[in-house]
Symmetry: C2
């Protein structure tokens, strides 16, 4: 559940969101997109939690891998439906992970 | 709830954790630490969500600001108690936010 990523440097995409009311197919699509992301080149892991807001952090080997995933046809459709139906507001941050440690 | 940070570059600290059973003073300390973090130089915002795992992302102007907050005396005590009582496992990632966008 805590992603076991490789030693830095690698990339993180922090996706923070406020959902609309109701499921409207969101849960199924979210599971499907996570399964699809796991199959992409350069995917290193994902962590997700939601209560008042949702935070999903996905980890990637490179910026090119992130760009490819963003442009994936099924993912583009999900992004469109996300803006139309599922999200009131979201913010995406593309980050270079410089250092990590754990307990 | 979604942090309104300044234009990149800035820094993010992604803190992902698995809690132990029971509260054991965690909730109160967590609120206290968030209030204290907000008073630190270079603090830009924080986002937090928890269900199976907890994800807290705090945003900072620079690495020096992150280092100062990590070394804050009250925060050091909280970190110690975190390792002894509140967390089964956690991972910290220090990241340079290169790009962001929102909807």
């Amino acid at each position: 559940m805590i992603a076991q990523t490789l030693p830095p440097p690698y990339y993180a995409v922090i996706f923070t969101s406020l959902r609309t009311e109701g499921d409207n197919g969101y849960g199924a699509m979210s599971d499907e997109m996570e399964a699809l992301a796991r199959q992409q080149a350069g995917f290193l892991g994902v962590e997700s939690a939601r209560n008042e807001i949702g935070i999903t952090v996905s980890y990637w080997r490179s910026l090119a891998d992130i760009k490819n995933w963003k442009a994936n046809t099924s993912h583009l459709l999900a992004q469109k439906q996300g803006r139309e139906e599922w999200y009131d507001h979201y913010k995406v941050r593309i980050c270079l992970v410089e250092r990590d440690y754990e307990f």
